[in-house]
Each structure stands twice: as structure tokens, then as C-alpha cells.
Symmetry: C2
Subunit: 197 residues, 2 copies
DNA sequence: CTTAATACCAAACGACCGTTTGTTTTTTCT
DNA sequence: AGAAAAAACAAACGGTCGTTTGGTATTAAG
């Protein structure tokens, strides 16, 4: 990022964070390609060229947002998991925290789920690595459930797919993220049989 | 689409279909915004301007692909469902057909899942309507399972979310689409408890 | 108070975008 | 064979894109 090693602390009025916030807000809403550097500049009262003082390219800016998104959602999930008692309670806490970040609390987290790595070939490797790094948490949480080994992988993929899919149909005036998380997890806990219960 | 009513049958060498195929292939791979009219022209040995004889705009082209995608995947799913015996077998057949189209058999179907309506504001209403039209099938299939009413909605959303999520992690050298479909559905059928099974 | 790095502005660069316009080729139908 | 419609070409239009370059306030440090 920084071309030369900084010889001095950054200024107080540094707008790098403001820039990241605005970009995350726009990108999570419109998508990466539909958000231009000029859009981001307008949202931060900055000329588009000035953004390049903070980020070397549009891809680098996206990667920074992705990294921050993973950092934030991981932090929240880890905190929630730590307060859980048994493995299933811990997984449930993780799902709730995941969806709360994804649906209401963090534009950064939204970017991570919304922008596909394949959308940005030049950055896809880094983006995929960041995603995998986060999802590793769910691998461990599910491993703790003591399921037969063959079922773990699909349990994880099914759960994450269903949770992330909520981004397409979630409406603020509908069920809360926490409620959705518990209901989705419930779909995996209670059998989908023909019984009427 | 056609400005004037056609007074004569279209030509034999009509390349409209070729155009749709190429566009679907590019868009499902790179996304809508990352695919330019010039890319599509190049893939069809056509000048970019010539595309406008067949489609009024890039959005209209996308809508045509979406519509064709829904038509094809719906046709396949309907056929598979018709051969199912009990409600659960019918749902399973639908899941298998859905994933086979989505993962290997149809670029058109891939576009429907990959391109979010919100990515293209000018067409989002039509795209959403087309999606809903298709997903209605799963609503009916799940209604036939005789689940308690409160669980149906989340069963559908969880199932479709998990299936569509497979597009992100599917690899041709891994499990087959049919296998994946059955395993994902299996996650909803067999409880995710602490028991070792 | 000077100095040098920081953080921006102002203005443009070339490339590419979706699209339009006028013309020409190709095909079908009489 | 001739006329008309269909389907393409050729060339550009204005606009926007990501990015670069050179200059200028602002600010922290000595």
C-alpha cells in the first residue's frame, strides 16, 4: 500500500477511514463494478484522484474493505461464540452474530458476501483467501458437534449458503436477523419429514 | 423489441440464438457489468452495433437471457418432478434437476442465479419477477410435504439458499451436482444433533 | 520557526463504454 | 428476375471509466 516506509505518524484529520466507510456503503449496495471511483469521491467530498493517495488501485481498495469486513465479522462471531455453553449453543451464537453483521450491522461484512471473488479477477486470490479464513470458524464449530465425518462438510456448506442467501430476501420490516439465523439453523436441526409436528 | 410488426418470417441464418448463447456464457462467467457489448460482439464475430438489431439495449439482452434461463430450468425441473412418486421424492428430483442445470448444464440458469437483480436497477423488477416465478415451484413442492405452516417458508429459503450457494464452491472434479443436491437436502432431512448417528 | 512529509486539489490522459446513424449485403417472397 | 425486408457492417457519438501528473495547502516534528 504505502510506497515508502512512513517517517512520520499519520495526521489526525486522515480521511482514510471515511473513505473505506463510504466505499463499503456504496459497494455493498450497488456492487463493485457499478460503483465508480467518482461515486466514492462524491460520497466523501473528495476528488477521485485523491483516493489514490490512500489506495493504489480500485482493486486494492476492495481488498482493504474485504479484509476489514472479515476482521469485523470474525471479531463479532468470536465474541459471541465465547459466551456459548455447549457446541450447539456456540454454533447458534455464531449464526446469529453472522447474520446480524450481514443484514444490519456492517456494510463491510455485506461486501464480503455480496462481491464474488470471480467478479474481480485481479484480486480473486486474495478475496478467496480472506473468505476461507473466515469460514474456517464454522468448520471448527461444526466439527465440535461430533457429527459423522462425512456429514460435516455439507452441513457447513448448507448452513453458510442458507445464511448468506438471506441477503437476497431479507427485508428490514420482516423477521430480525437473529430470528432468521435461529430458524435457518432450526431447519438443519429438526428433520424435514412428513410428520406434522 | 421489434419496432414494427414483422411482415416476413425471420431468416434461416438468424444469429439471435447464437448471440444469446454467447452472452449467457460470458455473463455467467464474468458477471453482467464485466461483460461489454464489445465482448459479446467479439464472441459472435459481430460488430457491437449489430447486436442492437436484435435487442434494444444491454438490459433487454440480459432480461432475454434471464427469461430463457428460467424457462429452461423450469422445464427441466417440471419434467423431473413429474416422474417423482411421493412428495419427498418429487422435491429431491427438483433439487437434483435444479443443481444439474445450475452447475453443469446451462449457462442461462447460471446467469439467473449469478446476476442479482439489484446489480441492474433498470431491469431489477423484471428480473425479480422472473426469479419469483421459478421459485414458486419450490413453494408448492414444500407445501406438499405437510410441514407445519410456520416452517414452510424457512424450509424453502434455506434449501434454495444452500443449493444456489453451491455455485460458489462447486468444482467439476468434486462431487456431482446430483450428489450435492441429495446431500444438501439430506442436511434438512436428518437432524443435526449431537448424536453420532 | 523552519522544514519536510502528509493529504489533498486541479486537470487531464487514453481507453473503453453503451448506443446511434447511415449504408450495404444478404435473403425471402412474388 | 426484381422488390422489399432482414441482418449485418462501418464509423462514429458523447460520456464515463480508472488512473496519472504536477502543484499546493496543511500539519506534525526538529
Amino acid at each position: 500500500m504505502a510506497a515508502t516506509a512512513p517517517t512520520r505518524a499519520p495526521r489526525q484529520d486522515n480521511r482514510r477511514q471515511h473513505l473505506l466507510d463510504a466505499a463499503a456503503g456504496l459497494i455493498c449496495q450497488r456492487g463493485y463494478h457499478a460503483t465508480s471511483m467518482r461515486d466514492i469521491g462524491r460520497a466523501t467530498d473528495m476528488l477521485p484522484g485523491s483516493i489514490y493517495y490512500h489506495f493504489g488501485s480500485k482493486e486494492e481498495l476492495l481488498i482493504a474493505i474485504y479484509a476489514e469486513g472479515v476482521r469485523r465479522i470474525a471479531e463479532r462471531v468470536d465474541g459471541a461464540v465465547a459466551r456459548g455453553a455447549d457446541p450447539m449453543k456456540r454454533l447458534e451464537a455464531a449464526c446469529v452474530a453472522h447474520l446480524e453483521m450481514l443484514l444490519t450491522d456492517s456494510d463491510y461484512a455485506r461486501v464480503v458476501v455480496r462481491v464474488l471473488p470471480e467478479d474481480v479477477p485481479a484480486a480473486s486470490t486474495r478475496l478467496t483467501a480472506l473468505r476461507d479464513d473466515y469460514e474456517e470458524r464454522f468448520r471448527k464449530l461444526i466439527a465440535a458437534l461430533a457429527l459423522p465425518r462425512g456429514r460435516r462438510r455439507y452441513a457447513r456448506l448448507t448452513l453458510l449458503g442458507a445464511l448468506n442467501g438471506a441477503q437476497t430476501w431479507y427485508r428490514p420490516d420482516g423477521d430480525s436477523p437473529a430470528h432468521i439465523a435461529r430458524r435457518v439453523l432450526g431447519c438443519l436441526r429438526e428433520p424435514l419429514g412428513v410428520e406434522t409436528q
